[in-house]
Protein backbone atom coordinates (compact mmCIF):
# COMPACT_ATOMS: atom_id res chain seq x y z
CA UNK A 1 0.00 0.00 0.00
CA UNK A 2 1.49 3.36 -0.91
CA UNK A 3 0.42 6.85 -0.02
CA UNK A 4 0.93 9.78 -2.32
CA UNK A 5 2.61 12.38 -0.15
CA UNK A 6 2.78 15.96 -1.24
CA UNK A 7 5.66 18.18 -0.21
CA UNK A 8 3.22 20.19 1.88
CA UNK A 9 2.82 18.58 5.30
CA UNK A 10 -0.23 20.62 6.22
CA UNK A 11 -2.69 18.50 4.23
CA UNK A 12 -5.35 16.61 6.16
CA UNK A 13 -4.76 12.99 7.04
CA UNK A 14 -7.53 10.39 7.05
CA UNK A 15 -9.05 10.03 10.50
CA UNK A 16 -7.71 6.49 10.88
CA UNK A 17 -4.04 7.35 10.25
CA UNK A 18 -1.54 7.32 13.12
CA UNK A 19 -0.69 10.75 14.59
CA UNK A 20 1.63 12.75 12.38
CA UNK A 21 5.24 12.05 13.40
CA UNK A 22 7.59 14.91 14.11
CA UNK A 23 9.30 15.73 10.86
CA UNK A 24 12.93 14.86 10.34
CA UNK A 25 14.67 16.21 7.27
CA UNK A 26 17.97 14.38 7.85
CA UNK A 27 19.48 13.68 4.47
CA UNK A 28 22.15 11.01 4.89
CA UNK A 29 21.45 7.76 3.09
CA UNK A 30 21.42 5.97 6.41
CA UNK A 31 19.02 8.39 8.07
CA UNK A 32 16.66 7.96 5.16
CA UNK A 33 16.95 4.20 5.28
CA UNK A 34 16.26 4.26 9.02
CA UNK A 35 13.22 6.52 8.65
CA UNK A 36 11.94 4.52 5.68
CA UNK A 37 12.22 1.27 7.61
CA UNK A 38 10.39 2.73 10.57
CA UNK A 39 7.61 4.12 8.39
CA UNK A 40 7.09 0.86 6.50
CA UNK A 41 6.94 -1.08 9.78
CA UNK A 42 4.34 1.38 11.06
CA UNK A 43 2.34 1.02 7.84
CA UNK A 44 2.45 -2.76 8.24
CA UNK A 45 1.12 -2.46 11.78
CA UNK A 46 4.22 -3.84 13.51
CA UNK A 47 4.15 -0.91 15.92
CA UNK A 48 2.68 2.56 15.96
CA UNK A 49 4.17 6.03 15.80
CA UNK A 50 2.80 6.63 19.30
CA UNK A 51 4.70 3.61 20.59
CA UNK A 52 7.89 4.93 19.02
CA UNK A 53 7.29 8.28 20.72
CA UNK A 54 6.68 6.52 24.04
CA UNK A 55 10.04 4.79 23.72
CA UNK A 56 11.73 8.11 22.97
CA UNK A 57 10.20 9.55 26.11
CA UNK A 58 11.34 6.56 28.17
CA UNK A 59 14.84 6.92 26.74
CA UNK A 60 14.97 10.60 27.64
CA UNK A 61 14.14 9.70 31.21
CA UNK A 62 17.06 7.34 31.59
CA UNK A 63 20.22 8.55 33.27
CA UNK A 64 22.89 7.34 35.65
CA UNK A 65 20.89 8.47 38.68
CA UNK A 66 19.41 5.00 39.32
CA UNK A 67 22.88 3.50 39.39
CA UNK A 68 24.15 6.33 41.60
CA UNK A 69 21.26 5.83 44.03
CA UNK A 70 22.08 2.14 44.38
CA UNK A 71 25.72 2.88 45.18
CA UNK A 72 24.84 5.62 47.66
CA UNK A 73 22.50 3.22 49.43
CA UNK A 74 25.21 0.57 49.53
CA UNK A 75 27.64 3.04 51.08
CA UNK A 76 25.31 3.80 54.00
CA UNK A 77 23.61 0.41 54.43
CA UNK A 78 25.90 -2.62 54.89
CA UNK A 79 23.06 -5.13 54.33
CA UNK A 80 22.14 -3.48 51.05
CA UNK A 81 25.80 -3.42 50.06
CA UNK A 82 26.04 -7.19 50.62
CA UNK A 83 22.80 -7.78 48.69
CA UNK A 84 24.01 -5.56 45.84
CA UNK A 85 27.28 -7.42 45.50
CA UNK A 86 25.50 -10.79 45.68
CA UNK A 87 22.80 -10.04 43.08
CA UNK A 88 22.78 -6.64 41.45
CA UNK A 89 19.50 -7.08 39.58
CA UNK A 90 17.59 -8.09 42.71
CA UNK A 91 19.10 -5.14 44.58
CA UNK A 92 18.04 -2.81 41.76
CA UNK A 93 14.54 -4.24 41.93
CA UNK A 94 14.49 -3.65 45.69
CA UNK A 95 14.84 0.09 45.01
CA UNK A 96 12.15 -0.05 42.32
CA UNK A 97 14.46 -0.10 39.28
CA UNK A 98 13.50 -2.52 36.54
CA UNK A 99 16.48 -4.18 34.85
CA UNK A 100 14.10 -6.07 32.56
CA UNK A 101 15.38 -9.50 33.51
CA UNK A 102 19.01 -8.67 32.73
CA UNK A 103 21.48 -10.00 35.29
CA UNK A 104 23.66 -7.31 36.88
CA UNK A 105 27.03 -7.80 38.52
CA UNK A 106 28.28 -4.95 40.71
CA UNK A 107 32.02 -4.87 41.26
CA UNK A 108 33.49 -3.14 44.27
CA UNK A 109 36.57 -0.96 43.95
CA UNK A 110 38.83 -1.35 46.97
CA UNK A 111 42.29 -0.41 48.18
CA UNK A 112 43.54 -3.54 46.40
CA UNK A 113 41.47 -3.66 43.19
CA UNK A 114 40.26 -1.15 40.62
CA UNK A 115 37.60 -2.47 38.23
CA UNK A 116 36.70 -1.18 34.77
CA UNK A 117 34.07 -2.38 32.28
CA UNK A 118 34.03 -2.70 28.50
CA UNK A 119 32.24 -4.64 25.77
CA UNK A 120 34.89 -5.30 23.15
CA UNK A 121 32.57 -7.06 20.70
CA UNK A 122 29.82 -4.43 20.51
CA UNK A 123 28.97 -2.08 23.42
CA UNK A 124 26.75 -3.85 25.94
CA UNK A 125 25.88 -1.53 28.80
CA UNK A 126 23.30 -1.45 31.64
CA UNK A 127 21.16 1.30 30.10
CA UNK A 128 18.27 0.91 32.53
CA UNK A 129 20.55 1.89 35.40
CA UNK A 130 23.09 4.16 33.73
CA UNK A 131 21.15 5.65 30.81
CA UNK A 132 22.57 5.66 27.29
CA UNK A 133 26.23 4.73 26.96
CA UNK A 134 28.65 7.51 26.01
CA UNK A 135 29.96 7.53 22.47
CA UNK A 136 33.52 6.86 23.65
CA UNK A 137 32.42 3.60 25.30
CA UNK A 138 31.27 2.40 21.88
CA UNK A 139 34.47 3.49 20.12
CA UNK A 140 36.91 1.00 18.65
CA UNK A 141 39.66 2.94 20.43
CA UNK A 142 38.21 2.23 23.89
CA UNK A 143 37.08 -1.30 23.12
CA UNK A 144 40.42 -2.21 21.56
CA UNK A 145 42.84 -0.78 24.11
CA UNK A 146 41.22 -0.94 27.53
CA UNK A 147 41.51 -4.74 27.62
CA UNK A 148 45.17 -4.71 26.61
CA UNK A 149 46.48 -1.52 28.21
CA UNK A 150 43.90 -0.44 30.78
CA UNK A 151 46.23 1.74 32.83
CA UNK A 152 47.11 3.84 29.80
CA UNK A 153 43.44 4.22 28.86
CA UNK A 154 42.55 5.18 32.44
CA UNK A 155 45.32 7.78 32.31
CA UNK A 156 43.59 9.34 29.30
CA UNK A 157 40.58 9.84 31.57
CA UNK A 158 42.82 11.40 34.21
CA UNK A 159 42.82 8.29 36.38
CA UNK A 160 46.08 6.90 37.73
CA UNK A 161 46.01 3.53 39.51
CA UNK A 162 49.11 2.78 41.56
CA UNK A 163 51.18 -0.33 40.79
CA UNK A 164 50.24 -1.80 44.18
CA UNK A 165 46.59 -2.07 43.10
CA UNK A 166 45.27 -4.64 40.66
CA UNK A 167 43.46 -3.26 37.62
CA UNK A 168 40.76 -5.74 36.72
CA UNK A 169 39.02 -5.38 33.35
CA UNK A 170 35.60 -6.90 32.72
CA UNK A 171 34.61 -7.67 29.13
CA UNK A 172 30.83 -7.89 28.88
CA UNK A 173 30.80 -10.69 26.32
CA UNK A 174 27.54 -12.45 27.16
CA UNK A 175 24.43 -12.04 29.31
CA UNK A 176 25.80 -10.25 32.36
CA UNK A 177 25.83 -6.46 32.65
CA UNK A 178 28.17 -4.59 34.94
CA UNK A 179 28.33 -1.57 37.19
CA UNK A 180 31.23 -0.46 39.38
CA UNK A 181 30.90 0.48 43.03
CA UNK A 182 33.47 3.27 43.30
CA UNK A 183 35.42 3.80 46.48
CA UNK A 184 33.56 6.19 48.75
CA UNK A 185 35.39 9.54 48.94
CA UNK A 186 37.27 9.90 52.21
CA UNK A 187 35.73 13.24 53.16
CA UNK A 188 32.13 12.12 52.72
CA UNK A 189 31.37 10.97 56.25
CA UNK A 190 27.98 12.13 57.55
CA UNK A 191 26.62 13.08 54.12
CA UNK A 192 23.02 12.21 53.32
CA UNK A 193 22.30 9.48 50.81
CA UNK A 194 21.13 12.07 48.26
CA UNK A 195 24.29 14.10 48.71
CA UNK A 196 26.39 10.95 48.33
CA UNK A 197 24.54 10.07 45.11
CA UNK A 198 25.46 13.53 43.87
CA UNK A 199 29.15 12.63 44.20
CA UNK A 200 28.81 9.55 42.04
CA UNK A 201 29.58 10.05 38.36
CA UNK A 202 28.70 7.98 35.33
CA UNK A 203 32.39 7.52 34.58
CA UNK A 204 32.87 6.27 38.14
CA UNK A 205 30.13 3.68 37.56
CA UNK A 206 31.90 2.44 34.41
CA UNK A 207 35.28 2.44 36.14
CA UNK A 208 37.27 4.92 34.05
CA UNK A 209 37.24 7.43 36.89
CA UNK A 210 37.55 7.45 40.64
CA UNK A 211 35.50 9.95 42.63
Amino acid sequence: MSHAHSHDHHHDHDHDHAPIEAEDTSSSDTAILADALRMVLIEKGIFTAAEVQDQLTLMEGRSDRNGAAMIARAWVDADYRDALLADGAAAAQALGYDTKGTPLIVLENTAKVHNVVVCTLCSCYPVTLLGPSPEWYKSKAYRGRVVRDPRSVLREFGTEIGPDREVRVHDSTADMRYMIMPKRPKDSAGMTEDALAGLITRNGLIGVAEL
Binding site: P163, D171, T173, A174, D175
Partner: protein
Protein backbone atom coordinates in the same frame (compact mmCIF):
# COMPACT_ATOMS: atom_id res chain seq x y z
CA UNK B 1 22.73 -29.00 30.12
CA UNK B 2 24.91 -29.81 33.13
CA UNK B 3 27.39 -27.24 34.46
CA UNK B 4 30.70 -29.11 34.66
CA UNK B 5 33.02 -26.45 36.11
CA UNK B 6 33.10 -24.73 39.48
CA UNK B 7 34.80 -21.63 40.93
CA UNK B 8 38.58 -21.96 41.00
CA UNK B 9 38.75 -24.62 38.26
CA UNK B 10 41.54 -24.05 35.73
CA UNK B 11 40.09 -23.85 32.22
CA UNK B 12 41.42 -23.21 28.76
CA UNK B 13 39.41 -21.44 26.08
CA UNK B 14 39.25 -23.53 22.94
CA UNK B 15 39.26 -21.93 19.52
CA UNK B 16 36.19 -23.56 18.01
CA UNK B 17 36.59 -21.49 14.86
CA UNK B 18 40.11 -22.77 14.19
CA UNK B 19 39.64 -26.25 15.67
CA UNK B 20 36.14 -27.11 14.52
CA UNK B 21 35.46 -24.72 11.67
CA UNK B 22 32.72 -22.96 13.63
CA UNK B 23 31.33 -20.02 11.67
CA UNK B 24 28.80 -17.28 12.23
CA UNK B 25 28.08 -15.31 15.36
CA UNK B 26 30.44 -16.00 18.26
CA UNK B 27 30.92 -14.28 21.62
CA UNK B 28 34.38 -15.61 22.50
CA UNK B 29 36.79 -12.85 21.45
CA UNK B 30 39.90 -14.02 19.61
CA UNK B 31 42.19 -12.50 22.27
CA UNK B 32 41.12 -15.09 24.87
CA UNK B 33 41.19 -18.16 22.69
CA UNK B 34 43.84 -20.68 23.66
CA UNK B 35 44.40 -18.86 26.97
CA UNK B 36 44.14 -20.49 30.37
CA UNK B 37 42.46 -18.94 33.38
CA UNK B 38 40.26 -19.92 36.28
CA UNK B 39 36.52 -19.99 36.79
CA UNK B 40 35.50 -16.91 38.76
CA UNK B 41 31.84 -17.95 38.98
CA UNK B 42 29.09 -19.89 37.29
CA UNK B 43 26.57 -17.39 35.93
CA UNK B 44 23.71 -19.73 35.09
CA UNK B 45 22.45 -21.15 31.81
CA UNK B 46 21.44 -18.90 28.95
CA UNK B 47 20.29 -19.26 25.36
CA UNK B 48 23.12 -19.99 22.95
CA UNK B 49 23.85 -16.75 21.06
CA UNK B 50 25.33 -18.73 18.17
CA UNK B 51 21.88 -20.06 17.28
CA UNK B 52 19.79 -17.16 18.59
CA UNK B 53 21.59 -14.99 16.07
CA UNK B 54 20.06 -16.98 13.21
CA UNK B 55 16.48 -17.16 14.43
CA UNK B 56 16.89 -20.26 16.56
CA UNK B 57 15.46 -20.42 20.05
CA UNK B 58 18.88 -20.81 21.66
CA UNK B 59 18.08 -24.15 23.30
CA UNK B 60 19.52 -26.10 24.91
CA UNK B 61 20.54 -23.31 27.29
CA UNK B 62 24.32 -23.21 27.70
CA UNK B 63 26.11 -22.93 31.03
CA UNK B 64 27.92 -19.60 31.20
CA UNK B 65 30.94 -18.79 33.36
CA UNK B 66 33.09 -15.80 34.18
CA UNK B 67 36.72 -16.72 33.64
CA UNK B 68 39.58 -14.76 35.19
CA UNK B 69 42.87 -14.52 33.35
CA UNK B 70 46.12 -12.88 34.39
CA UNK B 71 46.72 -10.13 31.84
CA UNK B 72 50.32 -11.33 31.53
CA UNK B 73 48.97 -14.69 30.33
CA UNK B 74 46.75 -13.05 27.70
CA UNK B 75 49.02 -10.38 26.19
CA UNK B 76 52.68 -10.90 25.32
CA UNK B 77 54.63 -8.07 26.92
CA UNK B 78 51.68 -6.81 28.99
CA UNK B 79 52.65 -3.35 30.21
CA UNK B 80 50.67 -3.10 33.45
CA UNK B 81 51.10 -4.62 36.92
CA UNK B 82 51.88 -8.30 37.41
CA UNK B 83 48.62 -8.82 39.32
CA UNK B 84 46.35 -7.21 36.72
CA UNK B 85 43.56 -9.48 35.53
CA UNK B 86 40.83 -9.60 32.92
CA UNK B 87 37.53 -11.39 33.37
CA UNK B 88 35.23 -12.40 30.58
CA UNK B 89 32.08 -14.46 30.18
CA UNK B 90 32.62 -17.70 28.27
CA UNK B 91 30.10 -20.39 27.43
CA UNK B 92 30.86 -23.92 28.58
CA UNK B 93 31.20 -25.40 25.10
CA UNK B 94 34.23 -23.13 24.51
CA UNK B 95 36.01 -24.39 27.65
CA UNK B 96 38.03 -27.45 28.52
CA UNK B 97 39.86 -28.33 31.72
CA UNK B 98 43.13 -26.39 31.72
Amino acid sequence: MQAIFGPGDRVQVMDLEAEQGLTGHMRAPVYCRGKTGEIERFCGAFGNPETLAYGGDGTPAQPLYRVRFKQADVWPGYAGAANDCIEIEVYQHWLKAG
